[in-house]
């Protein structure tokens, strides 16, 4: 087929073509986010529990009561948020209220001058928070972030029936863990469930063992960027203990194929295929959803066992102290004012705390023992007491470290658990990442 076109028709088509391209360019140019009226603050939060029981109801109440200090939320799925917020902060198009897990990310925001110093504005609010949780938002004695979410330490879970039928007591020391392994294996169950494929559950073992053996100082040296900090004898000893457990068959068969996002590790515990598990306080929700009766009667929980002769205080805990809110340095004055008002008066007001406690979450707030005991039951009280009484609350290392080191850590830990590298090689590999 031959198409004959007159010159005029050709120009018209060209115009259409150009128009299409221009439209397309325009569409890409104006796709940046954060388009709210100038006075009201914007906030990016996470979908799921945060949106449903924490931020969603709170902001609805807040916006109805504060006509001149509106906060407009947008919710994102966890992983999508992590990638989006970083580029948004970098490009200066961040929301007024920036959600983070503090740690390495907050440090990089502060270094780049992207978040506001809110020390004086939050001085009054400080008193109601548990100190160890509050301090994660403080860098060089200045407050850059305030807690806004539940505290979720890593807990030591166990299946009461499985331990009982194997004749094993809940271990309180590392040696008792080692002794329990052959007994549980003889009873035909895996001593520990572990979602090794997800990598970060393995990190929980590393964090607790290093703390119990060497105390918090070992990791503090790493955070301070000291040369060869990963070669601390305590870290090497902790890693030897990990490999000792692996070789003794402490972890479920095929643990390197078990993933946490499918809750396969939790299922191993409530189906009685594994006796114990180290996981965050947040998996209690999964236990309740998937095995309500077991969560009520068959599930036990405590803190990580001590290591005899170790330097770490057995009251120390690791995990996620909370989620945090910062205020973007790029926001307008009005936006900052609205945001600050919400952070100090709206976040963790009575309704906020009540809703969380009712949902089984533990707010990092002082003097709410009675409320938690009423609504959260035994588990809530255990988590609250552990957090309150902890000598040191170590934030999960993968949050605390800068992203490049955190990524290298998960890779090397995976190899350590799979016996592909020795504890010494692990330390050497990690030493190279210091300063990255």
């Amino acid at each position: 087929m031959t198409l004959r076109t007159s010159p005029r028709r050709r120009t018209r088509m060209a115009a259409v073509a150009l128009g299409v391209s221009a439209l397309m360019l325009g569409a890409t140019a104006c796709s940046s986010g954060g388009g709210a009226p100038s006075g009201s603050a914007t906030l990016w939060g996470l979908t799921g529990t945060d949106e449903d029981t924490v931020l969603g109801p709170s902001l609805k109440e807040w916006n109805a009561a504060n006509a001149d200090g509106q906060v407009a939320p947008t919710y994102f799925q966890n992983d999508a948020y992590k990638t989006k917020i970083r580029t948004a902060v970098g490009a200066g198009s961040a929301p007024t209220i920036i959600y983070s897990w503090a740690g390495g990310t907050l440090n990089s925001y502060v270094d780049a001058g992207k978040v506001a110093d809110i020390t004086s504005e939050t001085a009054d609010a400080k008193g109601k928070f548990l100190e160890s949780v509050w301090n994660q938002g403080v860098i060089d004695d200045k407050v850059y972030a305030v807690p806004m979410n539940a505290t979720t330490p890593i807990m030591f879970y166990y299946n009461k029936d499985v331990l009982k039928s194997a004749g094993v007591e809940v271990p309180t020391t590392f040696d008792e863990i080692v002794d329990a392994i052959p007994k549980l294996k003889a009873a035909g169950v895996a001593p520990f469930s572990l979602a090794g494929a997800s990598k970060w559950p393995s990190l929980m073992w590393e964090e607790y063992l290093v703390d119990r053996v060497a105390g918090p100082e070992a990791f503090n040296k790493i955070m301070a960027g000291e040369a060869d900090a990963w070669s601390d004898p305590g870290i090497i000893e902790a890693n030897e203990k990990i490999q000792e457990l692996v070789k003794a068959g402490a972890f479920v068969d095929g643990y390197a194929s078990v993933t946490a996002d499918s809750n396969a590790d939790v299922a191993l515990l409530y189906t009685g295929k594994a006796a114990m598990m180290l996981q965050g306080a947040w998996v209690m929700t999964t236990f309740k959803q998937q095995a309500a009766e077991f969560a009520e009667k068959g599930l036990g929980y405590t803190t990580f066992p001590a290591v005899t002769g170790g330097k770490g205080d057995p009251s120390n805990i690791v995990g996620n102290p909370s989620g945090y809110f910062s205020i973007s340095a790029a926001a307008t004055k009005e936006q900052k004012a609205s945001a600050l008002k919400y952070l100090t008066d709206g976040v963790f007001d009575k309704g906020y705390i009540d809703r969380m406690v009712k949902a089984g979450q533990v707010p990092p707030i002082t003097d709410i023992d009675a409320e938690i005991a009423d609504a959260g039951g035994d588990f809530g009280t255990t988590v609250y007491d552990l957090t309150k009484n902890a000598k040191n609350f170590q934030m999960s290392w993968d949050q605390a470290l800068p992203p490049a080191q955190a990524t290298a850590l998960l890779t090397n830990l995976d190899q350590l658990f799979n016996l592909q590298i020795t504890p010494e090689e692990f330390s050497d590999n990690m030493n190279k990442t210091i300063g990255q």
Binding site: T2, S108, L410
Partner: protein
């Protein structure tokens, strides 16, 4: 088309002007070119620029010259990833091509059972990659997966954790997902082959197998090139199933270059080094595509049915 153009060409003087007037205006490619410019060329140039900088997405990119290139090109992790990528490409091609070729030839037949089975074979292509990966993750779970539900001990392997095994698991899933597509390509190709060729072969006494090797296969030459190009470039940039299957934190056994690029960029926030990997991938992809078209004479697009 070829014939008409030759006819015009024979017009002598003024033929060029005439040729210009035939066919649609060149402006019609403008939208496509616009898209290509905005979504391919400009990002490529930006990535090239970023590959010479240190950038964590928060502070401004800082020029570091060839530092990123020097560190990536000697990094054993990156080299392993590249080798693994090449392994995936080669093994995927070796596995997928014969299966799709045979299936395509078989389903090209007019028999009703073949049509029904052909439709069934086609199903995996309708599933999203994420769904495929999640399904396989559940099937391969060592404690709750297929081994437990069927009670077959052999299936209780450390499928995703064993670093030697996981590569083949991934290649299997890729094949499961993409063989239907390539089967479809070959089916279409086979149906284009004129029946007279087979009739002639039959008269000459050629059996089914001889017909396959002397008629079907040579006639499918360009389909094979198309299919191979798609397969190789697809494997080179393969990402989604591995990412979902490993929960976003892949071990050494599945860390192919696109995955390493993502982890380096978005998990470790080293966008400079990630950009180096992106450029390497783009260059390898282009080189392979060019090589394939050159070697196969694909660009000439000769008709294979001359004289029919």
């Amino acid at each position: 088309m070829t014939a008409t153009r030759q006819l015009h060409g024979a017009g002598g003087a003024g033929a060029a002007a005439m040729r210009r007037r035939t066919g649609p205006s060149g402006w019609m490619v403008a939208p496509a070119l616009g898209f290509f410019l905005v979504f391919a060329i400009i990002p490529l140039i930006v990535a090239l620029y970023l590959s010479f900088t240190r950038w964590d997405a928060i502070t401004d990119p800082a020029w570091v010259g060839l530092d990123n290139w020097a560190s990536v090109l000697v990094d054993p992790v990156a080299i392993d990833a590249l080798v693994l990528t090449l392994k995936v490409i080669v093994i995927s091609w070796v596995v997928q091509t014969p299966i799709s070729l045979l299936l395509g030839t078989w389903t090209a037949g007019k028999q009703r059972n073949r049509a029904v089975l052909g439709a069934i074979f086609f199903l995996p292509l309708l599933l999203s990659s994420a769904a495929t990966a999640i399904a396989f993750k559940a099937i391969l779970d060592p404690n709750f997966g297929l081994s437990a539900s069927l009670g077959i001990p052999f299936l209780k392997q450390d499928w995703l954790g064993n670093q030697q095994l996981v590569l083949f698991v991934v290649i299997f899933i890729i094949a499961w997902q993409f063989v239907p597509f390539h089967t479809l390509l070959f089916q279409g190709g086979v149906r284009q082959i004129p029946a007279s060729l087979y009739e002639a072969a039959e008269i000459d006494g050629a059996g089914t197998i001889k017909q396959f090797f002397h008629i079907t296969l040579p006639q499918l030459r360009y389909t094979l090139v198309t299919s191979s190009t798609l397969m190789i470039i697809g494997s080179l940039t393969y990402f989604d199933v591995i990412f979902v299957l490993t929960g976003g934190v892949p071990s050494a056994g599945t860390r192919i270059l696109p995955i390493l690029m993502y982890v380096t960029g978005f998990s470790a926030s080293q966008f400079g080094q990630a950009s180096v990997m992106a450029i390497i991938l783009a260059v390898i992809g282009l080189a392979i595509a060019l090589l394939l078209t050159k070697l196969s004479g694909f660009a000439k697009m000769d008709s294979q049915q001359e004289g029919l």
